[in-house]
Symmetry: C2
Subunit: 312 residues, 2 copies
């Protein structure tokens, strides 16, 4: 059974339950609308040793930062501000006290950076392997929330940064080269928190998510939930230095924001983004009335068997 097959079964199993005011599963975060036009969002992510990280290929400090970063990225992808996190960590006997403290320092550094307090958690022993679970809570105006289901035919598709550096870095790590700049990018993802909040404030932005499994896979979720298709111009995908096009399209863990915006506003949006953040917002294609993802090279369809990223 695939992960998505299992999730589908879980959704069916729980569909009859009362919603208690929460929106259903399917986005980067669960959404709880509050009184006064506010909303809270919630996300949780489990990282297991040997699957999501290799202990010998990362420092504890980096791993602490990354565990938090991937969750902050999910909150940012909803268009609101992360306001708190909870951390559960299971440590085996061969993880030292020093390792645990350095992990927490990395977690705290990024917490400071984004002003998110640690409000709870759980620490326990593990029989083998380190396991980390982070829950992040975000808060903002309900009207600012961006959901995967809201892409509209004609929308311009943007990515908010260059792609492929993390995937290329992972390849170097797997080849035993830990000390390269790209390997460092893979181990130290930078969640686009300020960017996500900024997009939340722009109603011309329709759908948004963060790129964790690669464009080829993640865009599919937007298309499925929005009942739409997409054309991606291969020559417009911004490939990070050191990466290649396929890695940019299929590599995982870039944690850049992927969004769709009203075509009539898209030039202005990109100009304002550059003015605000000093970096480009890259238009890479458009939402169509069709179905599925079509790759175009210089306007011509190209059949590519490109899929998303799989973990170690």
């Amino acid at each position: 059974m695939t992960e998505f097959g299992f999730i589908e079964q879980i959704c069916q199993l729980f569909a009859p339950l009362p919603d208690q005011g929460f929106e259903g599963i399917g986005d980067d975060c669960a959404v709880l609308p509050l009184a006064g036009g506010e909303a809270l969002v919630f996300t949780t992510d489990l990282l297991t040793e040997g699957v999501h990280f290799l202990r010998h290929a990362t420092t504890a400090r980096e791993l602490g930062g990354k565990s938090l970063a991937v969750n902050l990225s999910d909150v940012a992808a909803m268009g609101v501000k992360p306001v708190a996190t909870m951390l559960s960590i299971a440590l085996p006997r061969d993880a030292t006290q020093q390792w645990a403290l350095e992990f927490m320092e990395g977690y705290r550094e990024l917490s400071e950076c984004f002003g998110t307090p640690l409000v709870g958690g759980d620490t326990t022993r593990s029989e083998s392997g380190i396991t980390i679970n982070v829950t992040a809570i975000g808060r903002g105006a309900l009207s600012h929330l961006k959901r995967r289901r809201d892409a509209r035919p004609g929308d311009t598709i943007f990515v908010a940064g260059e792609l492929g550096a993390s995937g290329a870095g992972l390849r170097e790590i797997l080849a035993g080269r830990f000390d390269t700049p790209l390997a460092a990018v893979h181990r130290n993802p930078k969640p686009q928190v300020a960017e996500g909040i900024w997009f939340g404030e722009h109603p011309e932005v329709h759908a948004m998510m963060d790129l964790s499994d690669g464009l080829a896979s993640d865009l599919g979720h937007i298309l499925e939930l929005s009942h739409a298709g997409a054309e991606i111009d291969l020559e417009h995908i911004p490939v990070a230095a050191g990466a290649d096009l396929k890695t940019a399209a299929c590599g995982g863990e870039d944690y850049k924001l992927l969004l769709t915006a009203d075509a009539a506003s898209s030039e202005r949006l990109a100009a304002e983004f550059r003015e605000r953040f000093g970096t480009p917002l890259y238009p890479i294609g458009r939402i169509t009335r069709g179905e599925g993802l079509t790759w175009l090279r210089n306007g011509r369809p190209e059949v590519l068997d490109w899929r998303g990223f799989e973990h170690y």
Copy 2:
């Protein structure tokens, strides 16, 4: 380093961060006051194979229920209603699809029982061992919240059910006897959700928590945070059938509520509790101006080296 030593270091490390409206660490749940006199509470618990459960000694369905139960118990211990949960689960190759589905069915059964939707989560592979993390969210009136720090000298100390059955059941499981009634109690904790909400509505109840590590250990948290002491009458501890006094005082995972209440109201509270729930509320001692926990046998102090429960 002990678990509590590590938690203490984490608290110091994160103390300088902004609170974003959350109350600090130290209770069964984190607390976020909302507008209009409401509050949300949050808790998270990590269960790892070989530490919190033995796969051969529990069914998947029971484990699904227990993973949820221990979190609902934390929400109930705050005096409010659980309204949603998120589940992360890491499965190794030797956990079958059938196992995973039965786990989810057990989780759903208890979710239905308490009306808590599953609003998010994460499923992933594990290199070895099953790991489960549940985050539970509760909601209620801010004025209903019960905190560990609010015990007052003179308060009557109550437990909301008999103690020791789970600890006695664990002993049988460790001796290889899985099919006994007490072993079943250990594997199927019943969170006192309705009771917790009911106590929340009673302002004469001051401090509350759930008994997960055993009375001898857990009461210490209330005393420390309330800057108070306690006397416990050994002959008043309600010992479950099949358990002994020491197991009732030190065994873990009973998930009964421990609370303190104004002495002048305590007889009425116990009578109302019995009327509402059909079971006794057991007075076991009182909060004092002193420090630490004093065991009394027929009114005389008795020195006992009794400590809380440790996992497998």
